[in-house]
Symmetry: C2
Subunit: 280 residues, 2 copies
Protein backbone atom coordinates (compact mmCIF):
# COMPACT_ATOMS: atom_id res chain seq x y z
CA UNK A 1 0.00 0.00 0.00
CA UNK A 2 1.23 3.47 -0.96
CA UNK A 3 0.51 5.91 1.85
CA UNK A 4 0.54 9.70 1.48
CA UNK A 5 0.78 11.72 4.68
CA UNK A 6 -0.14 15.40 4.71
CA UNK A 7 1.45 16.90 7.82
CA UNK A 8 4.68 15.38 9.10
CA UNK A 9 4.50 16.45 12.74
CA UNK A 10 4.07 14.35 15.86
CA UNK A 11 0.98 12.48 14.65
CA UNK A 12 1.70 12.12 10.93
CA UNK A 13 5.36 11.35 11.58
CA UNK A 14 4.51 8.74 14.20
CA UNK A 15 1.95 7.08 11.93
CA UNK A 16 4.53 6.78 9.18
CA UNK A 17 7.13 5.29 11.52
CA UNK A 18 4.67 2.70 12.86
CA UNK A 19 3.38 1.78 9.38
CA UNK A 20 6.94 1.26 8.16
CA UNK A 21 8.02 -0.67 11.26
CA UNK A 22 5.06 -3.03 10.96
CA UNK A 23 5.38 -3.43 7.23
CA UNK A 24 1.93 -1.96 6.62
CA UNK A 25 3.11 0.53 3.99
CA UNK A 26 5.30 -0.26 0.98
CA UNK A 27 6.01 3.38 0.30
CA UNK A 28 5.30 6.55 2.27
CA UNK A 29 5.06 9.90 0.53
CA UNK A 30 4.83 13.01 2.64
CA UNK A 31 4.30 16.73 2.50
CA UNK A 32 4.14 19.53 5.05
CA UNK A 33 3.49 23.28 5.05
CA UNK A 34 6.87 23.72 6.70
CA UNK A 35 9.93 23.05 4.49
CA UNK A 36 11.92 22.52 7.71
CA UNK A 37 9.56 19.77 8.81
CA UNK A 38 9.90 18.17 5.38
CA UNK A 39 13.71 18.20 5.59
CA UNK A 40 13.67 16.78 9.10
CA UNK A 41 11.16 14.05 8.18
CA UNK A 42 13.37 12.98 5.26
CA UNK A 43 16.55 13.05 7.34
CA UNK A 44 14.94 10.96 10.08
CA UNK A 45 13.70 8.40 7.55
CA UNK A 46 10.10 9.14 8.44
CA UNK A 47 9.06 9.27 4.77
CA UNK A 48 10.47 7.65 1.65
CA UNK A 49 9.68 10.57 -0.62
CA UNK A 50 8.74 14.24 -0.37
CA UNK A 51 6.07 15.27 -2.88
CA UNK A 52 3.68 18.14 -3.47
CA UNK A 53 0.12 17.67 -2.28
CA UNK A 54 -1.30 17.16 -5.80
CA UNK A 55 1.09 14.29 -6.54
CA UNK A 56 0.35 12.81 -3.14
CA UNK A 57 -3.42 12.89 -3.65
CA UNK A 58 -3.05 11.43 -7.11
CA UNK A 59 -0.73 8.56 -6.22
CA UNK A 60 -1.51 7.41 -2.67
CA UNK A 61 -3.81 4.46 -1.98
CA UNK A 62 -4.37 5.93 1.46
CA UNK A 63 -4.26 9.71 2.00
CA UNK A 64 -3.77 10.75 5.64
CA UNK A 65 -4.56 14.25 6.92
CA UNK A 66 -2.46 14.95 10.00
CA UNK A 67 -2.68 18.74 10.14
CA UNK A 68 -4.44 21.21 12.45
CA UNK A 69 -8.23 20.97 12.26
CA UNK A 70 -8.80 24.34 10.57
CA UNK A 71 -6.37 23.40 7.79
CA UNK A 72 -8.06 20.01 7.43
CA UNK A 73 -11.43 21.73 7.09
CA UNK A 74 -10.08 23.74 4.17
CA UNK A 75 -8.19 21.07 2.31
CA UNK A 76 -10.42 18.00 2.71
CA UNK A 77 -13.10 18.98 0.13
CA UNK A 78 -10.38 19.62 -2.46
CA UNK A 79 -8.74 16.28 -1.72
CA UNK A 80 -12.06 14.48 -2.14
CA UNK A 81 -12.48 16.30 -5.48
CA UNK A 82 -9.19 14.83 -6.69
CA UNK A 83 -9.40 11.14 -5.75
CA UNK A 84 -10.75 8.11 -7.58
CA UNK A 85 -13.20 5.54 -6.25
CA UNK A 86 -10.55 3.13 -4.95
CA UNK A 87 -8.58 5.61 -2.86
CA UNK A 88 -9.27 6.12 0.84
CA UNK A 89 -8.79 9.34 2.84
CA UNK A 90 -8.59 9.60 6.64
CA UNK A 91 -7.92 12.41 9.08
CA UNK A 92 -6.37 12.12 12.56
CA UNK A 93 -7.92 15.22 14.14
CA UNK A 94 -9.34 15.88 17.59
CA UNK A 95 -12.66 17.41 16.47
CA UNK A 96 -15.08 16.09 13.88
CA UNK A 97 -18.40 17.94 13.73
CA UNK A 98 -17.46 20.84 11.45
CA UNK A 99 -15.20 18.70 9.30
CA UNK A 100 -17.94 16.19 8.56
CA UNK A 101 -20.64 18.80 8.04
CA UNK A 102 -18.51 20.32 5.34
CA UNK A 103 -18.27 17.18 3.21
CA UNK A 104 -21.67 15.72 4.02
CA UNK A 105 -22.98 16.00 0.45
CA UNK A 106 -19.67 15.53 -1.36
CA UNK A 107 -19.96 12.84 -4.08
CA UNK A 108 -16.82 11.15 -2.71
CA UNK A 109 -17.90 11.34 0.96
CA UNK A 110 -17.86 7.53 1.14
CA UNK A 111 -14.10 7.40 0.50
CA UNK A 112 -13.40 9.37 3.68
CA UNK A 113 -13.17 7.78 7.15
CA UNK A 114 -13.16 10.18 10.11
CA UNK A 115 -10.51 8.74 12.42
CA UNK A 116 -9.21 9.85 15.80
CA UNK A 117 -6.44 7.89 17.44
CA UNK A 118 -6.48 8.88 21.14
CA UNK A 119 -2.74 9.18 21.35
CA UNK A 120 -0.39 12.13 21.61
CA UNK A 121 2.40 13.65 23.65
CA UNK A 122 3.19 17.18 24.75
CA UNK A 123 5.88 17.42 22.06
CA UNK A 124 5.45 18.39 18.44
CA UNK A 125 7.16 18.26 15.05
CA UNK A 126 8.69 15.31 13.17
CA UNK A 127 11.54 15.09 15.69
CA UNK A 128 8.94 14.09 18.30
CA UNK A 129 7.56 11.22 16.18
CA UNK A 130 7.68 7.79 17.79
CA UNK A 131 7.48 4.30 16.30
CA UNK A 132 5.86 3.16 19.58
CA UNK A 133 2.84 5.43 19.11
CA UNK A 134 -0.85 4.51 19.23
CA UNK A 135 -0.68 1.00 20.75
CA UNK A 136 -3.07 0.29 23.61
CA UNK A 137 -5.17 3.41 23.06
CA UNK A 138 -8.61 3.96 21.52
CA UNK A 139 -9.00 4.42 17.78
CA UNK A 140 -12.30 6.22 17.17
CA UNK A 141 -14.19 6.11 13.90
CA UNK A 142 -16.93 8.71 13.53
CA UNK A 143 -20.11 8.45 11.43
CA UNK A 144 -19.14 4.98 10.22
CA UNK A 145 -22.33 4.65 8.13
CA UNK A 146 -21.33 7.60 5.92
CA UNK A 147 -18.19 5.81 4.68
CA UNK A 148 -17.97 3.03 2.07
CA UNK A 149 -17.65 -0.44 3.55
CA UNK A 150 -14.30 -1.21 1.88
CA UNK A 151 -12.85 2.08 3.16
CA UNK A 152 -14.05 1.31 6.70
CA UNK A 153 -12.52 -2.15 6.55
CA UNK A 154 -9.17 -0.82 5.44
CA UNK A 155 -9.11 1.68 8.32
CA UNK A 156 -10.36 -0.83 10.92
CA UNK A 157 -7.64 -3.28 9.92
CA UNK A 158 -5.06 -0.53 10.06
CA UNK A 159 -6.08 0.66 13.55
CA UNK A 160 -6.16 -2.91 14.85
CA UNK A 161 -2.69 -3.54 13.49
CA UNK A 162 -1.53 -0.39 15.30
CA UNK A 163 -2.72 -2.14 18.48
CA UNK A 164 -5.70 0.17 19.04
CA UNK A 165 -9.17 -0.81 20.26
CA UNK A 166 -11.93 0.44 17.99
CA UNK A 167 -14.73 2.75 19.11
CA UNK A 168 -17.59 4.12 17.03
CA UNK A 169 -19.35 7.43 17.63
CA UNK A 170 -21.26 10.08 15.81
CA UNK A 171 -19.33 13.30 15.34
CA UNK A 172 -21.37 15.33 17.85
CA UNK A 173 -20.85 12.80 20.65
CA UNK A 174 -17.18 12.53 19.75
CA UNK A 175 -16.64 16.26 20.18
CA UNK A 176 -18.45 16.22 23.54
CA UNK A 177 -16.50 13.23 24.89
CA UNK A 178 -13.14 14.57 23.77
CA UNK A 179 -13.91 17.96 25.36
CA UNK A 180 -14.59 16.16 28.64
CA UNK A 181 -11.76 13.69 28.58
CA UNK A 182 -8.99 15.34 26.60
CA UNK A 183 -9.48 19.04 25.85
CA UNK A 184 -10.19 20.14 29.44
CA UNK A 185 -7.01 18.41 30.66
CA UNK A 186 -5.03 20.64 28.34
CA UNK A 187 -6.71 23.81 29.59
CA UNK A 188 -6.14 22.88 33.25
CA UNK A 189 -2.52 22.14 32.52
CA UNK A 190 -1.91 25.35 30.53
CA UNK A 191 -3.63 27.35 33.30
CA UNK A 192 -1.67 25.57 36.04
CA UNK A 193 1.61 26.43 34.34
CA UNK A 194 0.54 30.08 34.12
CA UNK A 195 -0.54 30.01 37.78
CA UNK A 196 2.80 28.69 38.96
CA UNK A 197 4.77 31.00 36.67
CA UNK A 198 2.75 33.93 38.04
CA UNK A 199 3.04 33.04 41.73
CA UNK A 200 6.47 31.44 41.83
CA UNK A 201 8.74 34.15 40.56
CA UNK A 202 11.80 32.13 41.57
CA UNK A 203 12.20 29.86 38.58
CA UNK A 204 15.04 28.07 40.31
CA UNK A 205 12.57 27.01 43.01
CA UNK A 206 10.24 25.49 40.41
CA UNK A 207 13.15 23.60 38.91
CA UNK A 208 14.51 22.37 42.22
CA UNK A 209 11.24 21.56 43.99
CA UNK A 210 9.30 20.00 41.13
CA UNK A 211 8.13 16.56 42.16
CA UNK A 212 6.81 13.84 39.88
CA UNK A 213 3.28 14.92 40.83
CA UNK A 214 3.76 18.50 39.69
CA UNK A 215 5.52 17.41 36.51
CA UNK A 216 2.73 15.09 35.48
CA UNK A 217 0.00 17.65 36.18
CA UNK A 218 1.74 20.41 34.24
CA UNK A 219 3.12 18.24 31.44
CA UNK A 220 0.45 19.07 28.86
CA UNK A 221 1.26 22.78 29.26
CA UNK A 222 4.20 22.09 26.95
CA UNK A 223 1.78 21.31 24.10
CA UNK A 224 1.78 23.20 20.82
CA UNK A 225 -0.41 26.36 21.02
CA UNK A 226 -1.17 26.27 17.27
CA UNK A 227 -2.60 22.77 17.45
CA UNK A 228 -4.63 23.52 20.55
CA UNK A 229 -5.92 26.91 19.47
CA UNK A 230 -7.46 25.15 16.52
CA UNK A 231 -9.04 22.45 18.66
CA UNK A 232 -10.47 24.98 21.13
CA UNK A 233 -11.87 27.08 18.26
CA UNK A 234 -13.52 24.09 16.68
CA UNK A 235 -14.94 22.72 19.91
CA UNK A 236 -15.66 26.02 21.64
CA UNK A 237 -19.13 25.25 23.03
CA UNK A 238 -18.25 21.85 24.49
CA UNK A 239 -14.97 23.09 25.93
CA UNK A 240 -16.69 26.09 27.53
CA UNK A 241 -19.31 23.81 29.00
CA UNK A 242 -16.77 21.57 30.73
CA UNK A 243 -14.52 24.52 31.65
CA UNK A 244 -17.44 26.17 33.46
CA UNK A 245 -18.02 22.95 35.38
CA UNK A 246 -14.32 22.79 36.24
CA UNK A 247 -14.31 26.34 37.61
CA UNK A 248 -17.40 25.43 39.67
CA UNK A 249 -15.57 22.39 41.08
CA UNK A 250 -12.51 24.50 41.96
CA UNK A 251 -14.74 27.06 43.67
CA UNK A 252 -16.05 24.28 45.91
CA UNK A 253 -12.50 23.61 47.07
CA UNK A 254 -11.99 27.33 47.58
CA UNK A 255 -15.16 27.69 49.58
CA UNK A 256 -14.26 24.71 51.79
CA UNK A 257 -10.90 26.26 52.58
CA UNK A 258 -12.36 29.70 53.25
CA UNK A 259 -15.08 28.36 55.52
CA UNK A 260 -12.89 25.65 57.04
CA UNK A 261 -15.53 23.16 55.99
CA UNK A 262 -13.19 20.20 56.41
CA UNK A 263 -15.85 17.50 56.20
CA UNK A 264 -17.01 18.65 52.80
CA UNK A 265 -13.41 19.09 51.62
CA UNK A 266 -12.75 15.47 52.59
CA UNK A 267 -15.90 14.41 50.74
CA UNK A 268 -14.79 16.24 47.59
CA UNK A 269 -11.46 14.42 47.61
CA UNK A 270 -13.04 11.05 48.42
CA UNK A 271 -15.39 11.58 45.47
CA UNK A 272 -12.44 12.40 43.22
CA UNK A 273 -10.86 9.11 44.34
CA UNK A 274 -13.63 7.34 42.41
CA UNK A 275 -11.52 7.90 39.31
CA UNK A 276 -9.46 4.96 40.69
CA UNK A 277 -12.34 2.61 39.92
CA UNK A 278 -12.23 3.67 36.30
CA UNK A 279 -8.51 4.26 35.68
CA UNK A 280 -6.20 1.80 37.41
CA UNK B 1 22.12 2.76 63.19
CA UNK B 2 18.81 1.75 64.77
CA UNK B 3 15.95 3.54 63.03
CA UNK B 4 12.42 3.88 64.42
CA UNK B 5 9.70 4.82 61.98
CA UNK B 6 6.37 6.15 63.20
CA UNK B 7 3.88 5.71 60.37
CA UNK B 8 4.40 2.80 57.98
CA UNK B 9 2.53 4.15 54.96
CA UNK B 10 3.87 5.18 51.57
CA UNK B 11 6.54 7.54 52.90
CA UNK B 12 7.64 5.75 56.08
CA UNK B 13 7.51 2.37 54.39
CA UNK B 14 9.52 3.59 51.40
CA UNK B 15 12.14 5.17 53.65
CA UNK B 16 12.58 1.91 55.50
CA UNK B 17 12.93 -0.09 52.29
CA UNK B 18 15.54 2.31 50.90
CA UNK B 19 17.50 2.43 54.18
CA UNK B 20 17.61 -1.37 54.32
CA UNK B 21 18.47 -1.74 50.64
CA UNK B 22 21.36 0.70 50.95
CA UNK B 23 22.58 -0.74 54.23
CA UNK B 24 22.02 2.56 56.03
CA UNK B 25 20.05 1.00 58.90
CA UNK B 26 21.09 -2.02 60.96
CA UNK B 27 17.65 -2.45 62.43
CA UNK B 28 14.32 -0.81 61.67
CA UNK B 29 11.58 -0.67 64.29
CA UNK B 30 8.16 0.54 63.26
CA UNK B 31 4.76 1.47 64.56
CA UNK B 32 1.52 2.69 63.04
CA UNK B 33 -1.91 3.78 64.26
CA UNK B 34 -3.40 1.09 62.02
CA UNK B 35 -2.84 -2.54 63.16
CA UNK B 36 -3.48 -3.59 59.56
CA UNK B 37 -0.66 -1.37 58.31
CA UNK B 38 1.62 -2.86 60.96
CA UNK B 39 0.80 -6.42 59.87
CA UNK B 40 1.30 -5.56 56.21
CA UNK B 41 4.60 -3.80 56.90
CA UNK B 42 5.90 -6.82 58.78
CA UNK B 43 4.71 -9.26 56.12
CA UNK B 44 6.36 -7.22 53.36
CA UNK B 45 9.64 -7.08 55.27
CA UNK B 46 9.43 -3.30 55.52
CA UNK B 47 10.38 -3.34 59.21
CA UNK B 48 12.40 -5.76 61.33
CA UNK B 49 10.30 -5.30 64.45
CA UNK B 50 6.95 -3.89 65.48
CA UNK B 51 7.10 -1.92 68.73
CA UNK B 52 4.97 0.53 70.67
CA UNK B 53 5.83 4.19 70.30
CA UNK B 54 7.45 4.48 73.76
CA UNK B 55 9.87 1.65 73.06
CA UNK B 56 10.61 3.12 69.65
CA UNK B 57 11.39 6.58 71.05
CA UNK B 58 13.56 5.05 73.78
CA UNK B 59 15.61 2.74 71.56
CA UNK B 60 16.00 4.35 68.14
CA UNK B 61 19.10 6.36 67.20
CA UNK B 62 16.97 8.07 64.57
CA UNK B 63 13.25 8.60 65.11
CA UNK B 64 11.28 9.28 61.91
CA UNK B 65 7.80 10.83 61.89
CA UNK B 66 5.98 9.79 58.72
CA UNK B 67 2.40 10.50 59.74
CA UNK B 68 -0.16 13.15 58.71
CA UNK B 69 0.85 16.68 59.72
CA UNK B 70 -1.83 17.15 62.38
CA UNK B 71 -0.76 13.94 64.12
CA UNK B 72 2.88 15.02 63.89
CA UNK B 73 1.98 18.36 65.52
CA UNK B 74 0.51 16.48 68.47
CA UNK B 75 3.14 13.83 68.97
CA UNK B 76 6.39 15.69 68.27
CA UNK B 77 6.60 17.62 71.58
CA UNK B 78 6.09 14.38 73.53
CA UNK B 79 8.77 12.62 71.50
CA UNK B 80 11.23 15.42 72.17
CA UNK B 81 10.38 15.10 75.89
CA UNK B 82 11.43 11.44 75.79
CA UNK B 83 14.75 11.45 73.92
CA UNK B 84 18.34 11.83 75.09
CA UNK B 85 20.93 14.22 73.73
CA UNK B 86 22.38 11.78 71.21
CA UNK B 87 19.15 10.80 69.48
CA UNK B 88 17.90 12.57 66.37
CA UNK B 89 14.28 13.09 65.30
CA UNK B 90 13.07 14.01 61.80
CA UNK B 91 9.68 14.42 60.17
CA UNK B 92 8.83 13.90 56.49
CA UNK B 93 5.80 16.20 56.27
CA UNK B 94 4.61 18.62 53.60
CA UNK B 95 4.09 21.65 55.87
CA UNK B 96 6.45 23.05 58.48
CA UNK B 97 5.36 26.38 59.93
CA UNK B 98 2.97 25.21 62.66
CA UNK B 99 5.08 22.18 63.51
CA UNK B 100 8.18 24.26 64.14
CA UNK B 101 6.35 27.01 66.01
CA UNK B 102 5.14 24.41 68.44
CA UNK B 103 8.59 23.19 69.48
CA UNK B 104 10.46 26.48 69.14
CA UNK B 105 11.30 26.73 72.82
CA UNK B 106 11.52 23.01 73.56
CA UNK B 107 14.80 22.18 75.39
CA UNK B 108 15.45 19.36 72.88
CA UNK B 109 14.61 21.47 69.80
CA UNK B 110 18.17 21.01 68.57
CA UNK B 111 17.73 17.24 68.21
CA UNK B 112 14.95 17.73 65.63
CA UNK B 113 15.59 18.29 61.93
CA UNK B 114 12.59 19.41 59.85
CA UNK B 115 12.89 17.37 56.66
CA UNK B 116 10.76 17.25 53.53
CA UNK B 117 11.68 14.83 50.77
CA UNK B 118 9.86 16.03 47.63
CA UNK B 119 8.80 12.58 46.63
CA UNK B 120 5.47 10.78 46.66
CA UNK B 121 3.00 8.90 44.51
CA UNK B 122 -0.79 8.89 44.31
CA UNK B 123 -0.87 5.60 46.23
CA UNK B 124 -0.85 5.11 49.99
CA UNK B 125 -0.24 2.50 52.66
CA UNK B 126 2.71 0.13 53.23
CA UNK B 127 1.75 -1.89 50.13
CA UNK B 128 2.58 1.23 48.05
CA UNK B 129 6.08 1.58 49.55
CA UNK B 130 8.94 1.48 47.04
CA UNK B 131 12.65 0.83 47.48
CA UNK B 132 13.28 3.14 44.52
CA UNK B 133 11.82 6.15 46.32
CA UNK B 134 13.38 9.61 46.83
CA UNK B 135 16.32 9.43 44.38
CA UNK B 136 16.77 12.43 42.10
CA UNK B 137 14.35 14.66 44.00
CA UNK B 138 14.86 17.57 46.41
CA UNK B 139 15.41 16.93 50.10
CA UNK B 140 14.48 20.11 51.96
CA UNK B 141 15.75 20.96 55.42
CA UNK B 142 13.91 23.80 57.17
CA UNK B 143 15.28 26.18 59.80
CA UNK B 144 18.66 24.47 59.72
CA UNK B 145 20.11 26.88 62.30
CA UNK B 146 17.65 25.65 64.96
CA UNK B 147 19.04 22.11 64.86
CA UNK B 148 22.25 20.81 66.44
CA UNK B 149 25.15 20.50 64.03
CA UNK B 150 25.61 16.74 64.54
CA UNK B 151 21.89 16.14 63.94
CA UNK B 152 22.01 18.18 60.73
CA UNK B 153 25.05 16.27 59.52
CA UNK B 154 23.38 12.92 60.10
CA UNK B 155 20.30 14.00 58.13
CA UNK B 156 22.31 15.62 55.33
CA UNK B 157 24.33 12.45 54.88
CA UNK B 158 21.19 10.38 54.91
CA UNK B 159 19.42 12.49 52.26
CA UNK B 160 22.52 12.50 50.08
CA UNK B 161 22.75 8.72 50.31
CA UNK B 162 19.12 8.53 49.25
CA UNK B 163 20.22 10.35 46.09
CA UNK B 164 18.48 13.62 46.93
CA UNK B 165 19.80 17.14 46.35
CA UNK B 166 19.71 19.27 49.48
CA UNK B 167 17.80 22.54 49.77
CA UNK B 168 17.55 24.84 52.76
CA UNK B 169 14.59 27.09 53.58
CA UNK B 170 12.89 28.73 56.47
CA UNK B 171 9.56 27.16 57.36
CA UNK B 172 7.43 30.06 56.09
CA UNK B 173 9.06 30.04 52.67
CA UNK B 174 8.83 26.27 52.53
CA UNK B 175 5.06 26.34 53.06
CA UNK B 176 4.64 29.00 50.37
CA UNK B 177 6.78 27.18 47.79
CA UNK B 178 5.11 23.82 48.41
CA UNK B 179 1.67 25.42 48.08
CA UNK B 180 2.72 26.79 44.69
CA UNK B 181 4.53 23.77 43.35
CA UNK B 182 2.91 20.77 45.00
CA UNK B 183 -0.34 21.47 46.86
CA UNK B 184 -2.11 23.32 44.01
CA UNK B 185 -1.38 20.41 41.62
CA UNK B 186 -3.32 18.15 43.93
CA UNK B 187 -6.30 20.49 44.07
CA UNK B 188 -6.42 20.89 40.29
CA UNK B 189 -6.24 17.14 39.88
CA UNK B 190 -8.94 16.38 42.48
CA UNK B 191 -11.17 19.05 40.90
CA UNK B 192 -10.52 17.74 37.37
CA UNK B 193 -11.57 14.24 38.42
CA UNK B 194 -14.78 15.64 39.90
CA UNK B 195 -15.36 17.70 36.75
CA UNK B 196 -15.05 14.70 34.48
CA UNK B 197 -17.08 12.46 36.79
CA UNK B 198 -19.79 15.13 36.82
CA UNK B 199 -19.90 15.78 33.08
CA UNK B 200 -19.07 12.36 31.71
CA UNK B 201 -21.79 10.18 33.11
CA UNK B 202 -20.69 7.30 30.88
CA UNK B 203 -17.89 5.79 32.91
CA UNK B 204 -17.15 3.36 30.12
CA UNK B 205 -16.32 6.35 27.90
CA UNK B 206 -13.80 7.63 30.44
CA UNK B 207 -12.21 4.21 30.59
CA UNK B 208 -12.09 3.71 26.85
CA UNK B 209 -11.12 7.22 25.77
CA UNK B 210 -8.57 8.07 28.45
CA UNK B 211 -5.32 9.05 26.79
CA UNK B 212 -1.94 9.32 28.46
CA UNK B 213 -2.50 13.07 28.73
CA UNK B 214 -5.72 12.75 30.68
CA UNK B 215 -4.27 10.03 32.90
CA UNK B 216 -1.26 12.11 33.87
CA UNK B 217 -3.34 15.22 34.60
CA UNK B 218 -5.84 13.37 36.76
CA UNK B 219 -3.37 10.98 38.43
CA UNK B 220 -3.02 12.89 41.69
CA UNK B 221 -6.80 12.69 42.20
CA UNK B 222 -6.16 9.15 43.42
CA UNK B 223 -4.25 10.55 46.42
CA UNK B 224 -5.28 9.85 50.02
CA UNK B 225 -7.91 12.38 51.24
CA UNK B 226 -6.78 12.05 54.89
CA UNK B 227 -3.22 13.02 54.06
CA UNK B 228 -4.28 15.92 51.88
CA UNK B 229 -6.99 17.25 54.15
CA UNK B 230 -4.31 17.67 56.77
CA UNK B 231 -1.95 19.45 54.40
CA UNK B 232 -4.66 21.81 53.15
CA UNK B 233 -5.70 22.59 56.75
CA UNK B 234 -2.14 23.33 57.77
CA UNK B 235 -1.36 25.43 54.73
CA UNK B 236 -4.77 27.02 54.24
CA UNK B 237 -3.69 30.61 53.55
CA UNK B 238 -0.99 29.78 51.02
CA UNK B 239 -3.14 27.22 49.25
CA UNK B 240 -6.05 29.68 49.03
CA UNK B 241 -3.71 32.30 47.64
CA UNK B 242 -2.51 30.11 44.79
CA UNK B 243 -5.97 28.59 44.23
CA UNK B 244 -7.40 32.09 43.71
CA UNK B 245 -4.70 32.79 41.16
CA UNK B 246 -5.46 29.49 39.43
CA UNK B 247 -9.17 30.30 39.17
CA UNK B 248 -8.20 33.71 37.73
CA UNK B 249 -6.01 32.00 35.12
CA UNK B 250 -8.80 29.60 34.17
CA UNK B 251 -11.23 32.52 33.84
CA UNK B 252 -8.85 34.06 31.30
CA UNK B 253 -9.20 30.92 29.17
CA UNK B 254 -12.96 31.03 29.63
CA UNK B 255 -13.17 34.68 28.63
CA UNK B 256 -11.03 34.08 25.52
CA UNK B 257 -13.35 31.29 24.43
CA UNK B 258 -16.49 33.28 25.12
CA UNK B 259 -15.24 36.37 23.30
CA UNK B 260 -13.45 34.37 20.60
CA UNK B 261 -10.33 36.28 21.51
CA UNK B 262 -8.06 33.80 19.72
CA UNK B 263 -4.92 35.96 19.77
CA UNK B 264 -4.98 36.22 23.54
CA UNK B 265 -5.80 32.51 23.91
CA UNK B 266 -2.73 31.73 21.82
CA UNK B 267 -0.67 34.08 23.99
CA UNK B 268 -1.87 32.35 27.15
CA UNK B 269 -0.78 28.97 25.82
CA UNK B 270 2.53 30.28 24.50
CA UNK B 271 3.19 31.75 27.94
CA UNK B 272 2.37 28.40 29.57
CA UNK B 273 4.93 26.82 27.22
CA UNK B 274 7.62 28.68 29.19
CA UNK B 275 7.42 25.87 31.70
CA UNK B 276 9.48 23.95 29.08
CA UNK B 277 12.45 26.17 29.83
CA UNK B 278 12.30 25.16 33.47
CA UNK B 279 11.18 21.53 33.30
CA UNK B 280 12.65 19.52 30.44
Amino acid sequence: MKVGIIGLGLIGGSLSLVLKKKGLADWVMGTDASPMHMDTAMQLGIVDQLVDINTLVKEADLVVLAIPVSAANKVLPEILDGINSRQVVIDMGSTKRNLLQQIQTHPNRGRFVATHPMWGTEFSGPQAASDAAFAGKAGIICNRHESDEDAIQLVENLLRQLGMHLLYMNADDHDIHTAYISHISHITSFALANTVLEKEREEQAIFELASAGFESTVRLAKSNPDTWLDIFKENKENVLDVLNEHITQLRKFKSCLEKENWDYLHQLMAHANEIKRILK
